[in-house]
Each structure stands twice: as structure tokens, then as C-alpha cells.
Amino acid sequence: MRDDAGPHEPHAARRRWMAVLARADAGDIATLLERHAKLPRYTRLRGPEAGLVMVRGRTGGGGAPFNLGEMTVTRCSVRTEAGQIGHAYVAGRDSRQAELAAVVDAMLQDPAQTFELHAKVIEPLADKQRAHRTDIAAKAAATKVQFFAMRNMRT
């Protein structure tokens, strides 16, 4: 996840906020929006609808593609009154999250709102997700076992 929008990644910023929204909880998005922004009137273009997406991988990371399995994905596309179109694809079946994420994606494309929304909605969500990841990593790290005995025997 990078903030800088280089010439090779014209949508890096949008990609980042969509990723954050896709991982965020519907309740969290709603709370932050309520506090900091006014929801625009919008039309649902498609969905929210749940479906299955085939997740594909590559053997050994770069070999032949294979189907790993299907996952449930909910998608939604909306158009705000101002004409911005927002999309969201989120894992799971939470249609409220998909719809809110699509609306926020549309709002973030309005240059007048981008900066403020980014600071007051996306960043807090990203911080929360980062804290959660760090927390899990810390818990996992605490269970790490150093096999001193085995290492000593082998060397």
C-alpha cells in the first residue's frame, strides 16, 4: 500500500482507499461518516449483490495458474447526485459495507472533498486496521519458539 501516485500507477491513491474501505467494518464507516461528512443522495447502479469469485494462484508464485477456490464477494456501484461513480468489491456478504464503501469511493473522487474525507474517514480506518494487524502480529510473535537445543545439536 503506497500513498504516492507515480506515473505507472495513476490510480494508486484510489486503489489504497478502496482497499481500506474493503477491509473496514460497515459500522465503523457509518460512524465516521456521520461524524464528519454528509452522505450525498445517490442512485444504485448495480447491487449490492453477493456472488462467488474464483481465486486463482500460480504454482510456486510464478508458474502455471490454478484455481485456488471460490470466495464470497459483495459488490456495489453507485452514482452520486454530483455524477461521481463509486465502486466497491468487498469480501463476505455485508451488503451495507459494500454500499457504504461505494458511496465513499464516489465521494472521494470529488476533488472538493477528497482531502478532508481522506483525513477524517480513510486514515482513521487505516490506523485501526494497522493496529489490528500489529496486535495479531504481536500475539503471534509471543508464541514463537526458538529451538535452541536443536540448533545447538546441529552446529
Binding site: 444504485r44 447502479l45 448495480r46 456501484s77 461513480i85
Partner: protein, 193 residues
């Protein structure tokens, strides 16, 4: 993707597509009968509600679609809602979308081994139920039916008879106007009445 032209599809995708599929099925089974489709749909210009409903119902990522130049304004809408790949070569399409009659020979008519690979032409006309009258005869019709279509060229009956002569190959046409549709399956013979 143009922000101003993108309109929603069916309000209820499942029920909407099922109702329209039924209309197309009945229209194919009884050529010349006019059915309603796409009521309540707000498609982008230049598509009529019935045309849009047929596209939403029949097209998906497996069906390459060819659009005649007049229908290109709706390209984004079709790509977004149907997910169909848009092809520029009419001979490679599964569905043709046209606002005026293209040369029927330009669309794939299938092969004798696989006649089901022929294209279906979704043709938007000015009106159904008035205009030039055609006498239809063939499977599904106990007695010849009369279908009036406004917006087909003088040469249509002759062009269609060429397509009819290819049976079991040949293309099928779904005629759409406003919120009504009728179908001309390849098995039906069309004469000016």
C-alpha cells in the same frame, strides 16, 4: 466510463431478467406476437427500454456483442451491466445490437454442424404494431400471422428470405420498440402483406 450516461439496470435483476426472458421465449415460440418488456427501465440513449431489457437478459461475459455505430453511445452501459466483450467485427459476434438493419449476411449464421452458433440480432425499430405489414408463416403459427413493423427498409422481406433459405443455419432477430418486442426466428418465412 462517462459519469453522466451510466444508468441503473433492472431494479430487481433476477425478476426483471426472468420476466424478459419469458417474453423473448414466448416471442420466439409465436412469431409475430408482440410482448411487453423493459417497463420501468431507464436505459441510456439511444436504447429503448425493451432493447435494454433484452440486452440485460441475454448478454453476459460469454457472448461477444457487436454494436452498430448508432448504438455506440450505449457501449459503456452494456459493458458495465452485461459484462459482454464488445467486438468490432460483426462476423465474430454472438449478439448484434442495431438501430437500423445491417446486412444480414454480415452476422454469423452458424454452421451445419453447429447451427446454434449463429448470432441473434437485437434490432431496435421505430414501432411495432403499425407501419409496414409482413405475413409470417412457419413453426409456431397454425395460420399465417401479420406483424406490422415501422422502421424496417423496403428490402427487408427479400433479405430475410435469403436468411430463411439457410435453415437450419441463419440468424434470429428480436425486434424491439419502446416497451414492446417481437421475434423473427430463422424458421419463419416473411412476406410483405
Amino acid at each position: 466510463m462517462s459519469a453522466t450516461t451510466l444508468q441503473p439496470g433492472f431494479a430487481d435483476p433476477v425478476a426483471g431478467a426472468q420476466a424478459c426472458f419469458r417474453a423473448v421465449l414466448d416471442a420466439m415460440a409465436r412469431p409475430g406476437r408482440i410482448h411487453e418488456a423493459g417497463i420501468g427501465l431507464e436505459p441510456p440513449a439511444p436504447l429503448a427500454p425493451a432493447t435494454a431489457a433484452v440486452l440485460l437478459t441475454l448478454l453476459d461475459y460469454d457472448t461477444p456483442a457487436w454494436l452498430d455505430p448508432a448504438a455506440h453511445a450505449a457501449r459503456d452501459w452494456i459493458a458495465f451491466h452485461c459484462g459482454a466483450p464488445i467486438v468490432t467485427d460483426a462476423a465474430a459476434c454472438g449478439f448484434g445490437v442495431a438501430l437500423s438493419l445491417p446486412p444480414l449476411g454480415s452476422l454469423p449464421a452458424g454452421t451445419h454442424e453447429a447451427p446454434e452458433t449463429a448470432a441473434t440480432l437485437v434490432l431496435q425499430v421505430t414501432a411495432l404494431g403499425r407501419g409496414r405489414r409482413f405475413r409470417l408463416a412457419g413453426p409456431g403459427l397454425l395460420v399465417p400471422a401479420i406483424l406490422a413493423v415501422d422502421g424496417l427498409p423496403d428490402t427487408f422481406a427479400a433479405a430475410w428470405q435469403e436468411n430463411y433459405a439457410l435453415f437450419p443455419r441463419g440468424i434470429d432477430i428480436v425486434l424491439c420498440a419502446g416497451t414492446s418486442l417481437a421475434a423473427l426466428p430463422r424458421s419463419v418465412s416473411v412476406q410483405e402483406a
